[in-house]
């Protein structure tokens, strides 16, 4: 069933190469219109195969789904899709401007329009000064910028970028990120396949993690870390650990069923059910409810402890990725890892 709010709606996409190698197994994925969607996965997970199926470069073994309301793998929607493949090789004998105009023409864009768009886009990606030099003379980063521009030259509704910041220096990455945000503001849907998790984390609205040809996780970062977020609090006081133990144990009815671990982490649960742990002057409370977290602050303050730091934490995209591919994982139910591998940037929160 076509859903107009979805740019990509894959229900069941499979690909087996030469009857033996299963690259994709029943991939299900939904990308909403107007969002930036990140596709992650280890090498060999099938990311490029999935992208190539959507772009009709690879033929699926079976496919149920739509891209811009046209059957996946068909040419029907490609006029409205922009694509930058990984390790792209634009003709070296063309200039940057000719490259954009040529690929615009292949998308069926008229002469005047493609000239205008090429000029605009070269400016957008900072390549105006190099517009009339041959692509063969470009650095990797310059080629990538022209590639991003080429993906936009047909004014697409959906832009699919495979490793768009590959080989680009930090300044260039920042500029490409700005272009992505601008694409979103212009109402385009952006689908990014990238290894740079930190890049994706900053720009993506939603992500999917593909492992061994299957989507193992899909959603917003918040959705994917529900139950995995917590507040971390650090106090500045002598005998902080005793103070925290009193505040959380006596005032909030926390219990400590086991002695501290070898690393000095004392684990337990509050009377209201949230998990809690104390490690030196740091306490962690497993909740996403800011209201509930206020009780912790009150209890700590009630013990006369000065709060140095108060941060809401969640697993990073990298943590989710590594967990999904079967590496070392962080998680509240794997309490031992908490605080060790969960090293997300602050989201909200305050500093005293």
């Amino acid at each position: 069933m076509a859903d107009g709010s979805l740019a990509i709606d894959l229900e069941q996409v499979s690909k087996t190469y030469r009857g033996r190698v299963r690259a994709l197994e029943g991939v299900q994925m939904q990308v909403r219109r107007g969002e930036i969607f990140g596709l992650l996965g280890p090498n060999g997970a099938g990311k490029s195969t999935l992208v190539k199926i959507m772009m009709s470069v690879v033929k699926p073994t079976s496919a149920v789904g739509q891209v811009l309301e046209k059957p996946v793998g068909s040419k029907g929607s490609l006029e409205r899709v922009g694509y930058l493949p990984e390790h792209h090789r634009f003709p070296r004998y063309l200039t940057g401007r000719q490259t954009l105009e040529f690929f615009a023409a292949l998308s069926g864009v008229g002469k005047e329009t493609r000239k205008e768009r090429a000029k605009e886009l070269l400016e957008t990606v900072g390549m105006t000064a190099w517009a009339d030099r041959r692509v063969g003379d470009y650095s990797k980063g310059m080629m990538q910028r022209v590639g991003v521009a080429a993906a936009l030259v047909n004014d697409p509704q959906l832009v699919i970028l495979d490793e768009p910041t590959d080989g680009v220096d930090p300044v260039g990455r920042r500029e490409i990120r700005d272009v992505l945000v601008r694409m979103k503001k212009e109402g385009r849907t952006v689908f990014i396949n990238s290894h740079l998790l930190s890049e994706l984390e900053v720009v993506s609205d939603r992500v999917a993690i593909l492992v061994a040809g299957r989507v193992v996780k899909q959603g917003t970062l918040n959705e994917l870390t529900v139950g995995r977020q917590y507040f971390e609090l650090e106090v500045a006081a002598d005998r902080a650990e005793q103070g925290l133990k009193r505040a959380l144990g006596e005032r909030l009815k926390g219990t400590w069923p086991a002695p501290p671990t070898a690393e000095g982490i004392l684990r337990g649960a509050l009377g209201t059910g949230e998990w809690v742990e104390i490690q030196g002057s740091v306490a962690r409370v497993g909740t996403v409810d800011v209201g509930a977290a206020q009780g912790v602050i009150d209890a700590v303050r009630g013990e006369g402890l000065a709060i140095r730091r108060w941060v809401q934490m969640r697993p990073s995209l990298e943590d989710l990725f590594i967990e999904a591919v079967g590496g070392v994982a962080g998680g509240h139910n794997a309490g031992a890892a908490m605080g060790g591998v969960v090293k997300a940037p602050p989201v909200g929160g305050f500093r005293p």
Binding site: L78, R89, F102, L106, G108
Partner: protein, 393 residues
Amino acid sequence: MMVQTWALLVDAYRELNAKKMFWIVLILTGVVLAGFATLGVSGNQMTVLWYAPFGKVPSALFMYKAIFSYLVVGFWFTWVAVLLALISTAGIFPDFLSAGSIDLFLAKPITRLRLFLTKYVAGLLFVLLQVTFFAVASFVILGVRAGVWQPGIFWSIPIILVFFSYLYGVCVLLGVLTRSTVAALLLTLLAWLGFWAVDRVDVVMASYINSQHATQADMEDELARIDKEIAANPGAATQPATERMGEEMYRDRVQIGSPPPGVGTRGSGSGETLEDQRAEAVSMRDEAVVSPTVEMVERVVVGVKTLIPKTRETTNLLDRELFTDKDLRAATQADAGQASQQDEFERRRAERRGQVWIDAMRERSVWWVVGTSVGFEAVVLGVAAWLFCRRDY
């Protein structure tokens, strides 16, 4: 749709323009034509620049055209220039299919088949541009230097283009299969060698068979002459030549280099009777019968040749345009005229061989030569297109 096709053709032109080989071949063709332009025809004389170092030349115009046909077209354009064109274009499909390049094209709203065919046609641009330059320059040179304003020369454009397309079709298939420029080029050259070898076998066998048939016809002529002589003078059948015509006259004839007729090109020996000559003519006629095995092998060779491109015969089609029947007959009659001064038999023989040559040039229809070759090309391209369209990249 036209926007995309036109864009691909313009891109192909830009690609050619960027290739040094394109300009090298164009300049070399210019040099070859400039060299040819030093030759000219003035009346019955062949000139070099403004001089006529050879004096009067029989069939000067025919010779001039023959030099153009065999050296300029036959050697330069159908061997060297086409070889250089293949070297230049062999990489088009392997490059196009390389990772990172093909994705850019397949992700566009163009069907794979149209993409394939447009790219194929774009590959022919190399030769189209080269041969157009060649045809225009040749037309002017033949007109100015020989006074022959022959629009038929423009047939060289489709003829050489279609000839190149046979090889390019093979090269495209091999490029799609191997995705390697070197492999595609080398295997195409090998295929070309194969086509050439089959053609050579056909040419050698056909000329052997034709010459045997001509010998049979010659001997039939001889038998008719001998029988006529015997009918006129039955008693002469068993007389040696010296007796038939008198010893003195026989000696005189031998002395002036015109002995009485004998079988074939030799004169009658002094002791040779007409019966002897007759027996020899019958024997030679019977020896000239082509064995059924040879005929069968030739039929097989022609059958094989029907299935593959006929590269030589395709380029030879230009000769049909360059040389009229009148030109050819004039050339063969010049030979026959020289021969007739010696012997009636020799004259008829030269005429017969000339006709065999003319027939060989014209006997196979354009449709057989081009139609079956293009059929081969269509099959090869069909396989290449099928592979291109169904493959994952």
